[in-house]
Assembly symmetry: C2
């Protein structure tokens, strides 16, 4: 019997009617990812150039691919220790020592995760109890909010516009208002804005946090993509109360390999590592060997990619400015967060669909990232230089229609 | 500056004293995995043969390795859809159609997970609310209990000894006592006992469950390792209220590739897929391409491995019986659950350490798997034939000391 005829006669997993709407309420309350909704809708437009996803267009460097393939040949197909292969944790430790001047012990202070996503999830699960208060500066990566909500946390969002950084002053004010806060999520360089702390700003923020008992979840996955300035990590400034979230996905174009890591004080990491075991057991073995290689011999890859990203950023910034968008030069990550010109559609979701339909350029509405994001769009410049040139041209053409028409 | 001297001068992530013992209470309440504790301790004994872990000693079949390496070469290094590559979900759908006669739609009814572990975790998180009652037959894989406890579920365990199967009669009694139960975890072939439902037994259990609104989480990861009888899936018997948990880890010796999957009615899968996104985003792309190949062209691998497992099972059973252990022939998985002879140490944890020290054979104490496991040991025969022969010889030698000594 062939598959088609077998399908026709097969049973169907239609949910028993009495089981309708009985699943987890916290999950049902969280709306589906709007980034995906927008991305799916505009993906159907022919010839669209998508600057939507935070994903490098680069290929994984050849020496890292080779390491992954060698690991497959060498039968790294068995369970790794739950915290990840010790050799990888040693490389992470060495890397962090050089990058942050803090020495995290491979045994007990570092856990390898399934991308930074699992890092964020397990860190929040490991540190907080339902009802705890967490501070999330916005605009921010929507995952933070979803994970905190899933856990039943009390979420305090703080709008960081127009700097797009939670400055020391704003933080101080906030802590007077929410003295019960147990933790805070920092993300710099920031997704979606590309803003990042200068060393002075980072120090000022750390000085305030040091006077508190807040646990700092510092998502620094874009640390290696910092332009024209030095990235000063919370791991350097506040190692005694920080869980550092990072990984190789963005620095080495390895998003699909799903390797991230967490580093922090042993007691916090013990809880986190325990839940990590229950959630995934461990990351994929050959992918960990690839990550090991990226940390051991991948410093040049980063430098090369960073140079190209910076060129792409400037190219896209220039096109946006010519089209009338207000931007600040993002100092990190690979996003531009641009203010929609006041003579164009001001509802950012409607604007995005209009731009996609009329100009065949796909971007993400800023309001998806929370308070401070309205009237903005996020453009990822982790796309090829050719696509960015063409997208810039299309956006400028799109802007021309407004030179002869009234404000909508 | 070299790493050693840099280490000496580096900062240390010593937890701020005021942050001590402030982490997640539910996680802290769960004891660390006793399997790992036992395994770590006995791993330090020189020349030990470990029959402790549920991990095939086989290598990944060459055609599957090739598929993984090709995927790396072909730049499958970008994010896959959160539910997994569509091609993989199509292969899973085809496989399940043939194996269970139920047609799960690749879009909406199947989610690829980071091993069956993440499948179990996200299924429990997606289906239950804190305070819900879940039935877990024991002895069982300790992860079920931990995941349910983490979520604050009300756990009803039911001792399945001596059959090591939750029979229809026992289930019926249980449901009278716990009419509020919202779900049940089934696992057959079973870890740790190797017991599995005959088709008649599975039908009888399904007939009772069909009269209830219980959601059935059916962990059938060992389905392909069923000996001398047919595996009848809950996906066939109860598709309208079952979430099927499975994967390629055990059938194709791919534990370290971390690919599992869930299949079930669309409404339940929607919640589960949403939390899956928040937990891991998606599984590793090259590993998914390997899993696709294992489902498409890997049927012969299974048959070959199964034949060898069965020989190993019989070999180890024979040695255990000669040494005085009471066993039933396990019909599935790759575990033997053996009753410690009454003239030996009856505390199974103490017995395991004694066996490890005196006979250099590592096994897992049965009580770790919950009520019904006491006085038993679990031996994994997913080890090489040579190790199993030698382990059998050592166990028989160990038993000889008791022929001339009193009961301890």
């Amino acid at each position: 019997m062939n598959l088609t005829s077998q399908k026709e006669r097969a049973l169907m997993p239609n949910l028993k009617v009495s089981l309708t709407a009985r699943g987890n309420r916290a999950i049902q309350a969280i709306p589906p990812s709007l980034i995906r909704t927008v991305d799916n809708r505009i993906s159907q437009i022919p010839d669209i150039i998508k600057l939507t996803l935070g994903e490098p267009d680069f290929e994984v460097p050849q020496h890292i691919k080779n390491a992954a393939k060698l690991a497959i040949d060498q039968n790294f197909s068995h369970y790794a220790p739950s915290a990840g292969f010790l050799e990888l944790r040693q490389e992470i430790s060495n890397y962090l020592l050089k990058a942050t001047n803090t020495y995290y012990q491979p045994e007990g202070e570092i856990t390898v995760t399934v991308g930074a996503t699992e890092g964020i999830y397990t860190a929040v699960q490991g540190i907080f109890n339902p009802g705890d208060t967490i501070i999330i500066p916005t605009p921010s990566f929507p995952l933070y909010h979803a994970v905190a909500e899933l856990m039943g946390l009390n979420i305090v969002t703080v709008n960081t516009a127009p700097e797009y950084l939670l400055t020391a002053n704003k933080l101080a004010e906030l802590l007077i208002k929410y003295p019960q806060a147990k933790g805070i999520i920092l993300n710099y360089p920031n997704n979606p804005t590309g803003a990042t702390y200068s060393p002075e700003q980072a120090r000022a923020v750390a000085d305030i946090l040091r006077q508190t008992d807040l646990v700092v979840l510092s998502d620094e996955i874009y640390a290696e993509l910092t332009y024209e300035q030095h990235h000063l990590s919370m791991a350097t400034l506040l190692p005694e109360q920080t869980i550092l979230i990072s990984g190789c996905s963005k620095s080495h174009a390895m998003t699909g390999y799903r390797i991230g890591y967490l580093a922090g004080p042993a007691e916090l990491m013990t809880s986190i590592d325990k839940i990590h075991q229950f959630v995934v057991t461990t990351a994929a073995s050959p992918m960990m060997k690839a990550a090991e290689e990226s940390l051991r011999h991948g410093q040049n890859d980063i430098i090369q990619m960073r140079t190209i990203y910076q060129q792409r950023r400037d190219l896209l910034l220039n096109a946006l400015n010519l089209a009338g968008f207000t931007t600040t030069t993002p100092a990190g990550a690979f996003y531009i967060f641009a203010r929609i010109p006041t003579n164009m559609i001001q509802d950012d979701v409607k604007f995005v669909y209009d731009l996609a339909e009329k100009a065949q350029v796909g971007v993400i509405p800023g309001s998806i990232f929370g308070p401070g994001g309205e009237h903005h769009i996020r453009l990822s410049y982790a796309a090829s230089t050719e696509s960015l040139i063409e997208a810039g041209r299309r956006i400028q053409n799109y802007a021309r229609q407004y030179q002869h028409s009234a404000v909508i």
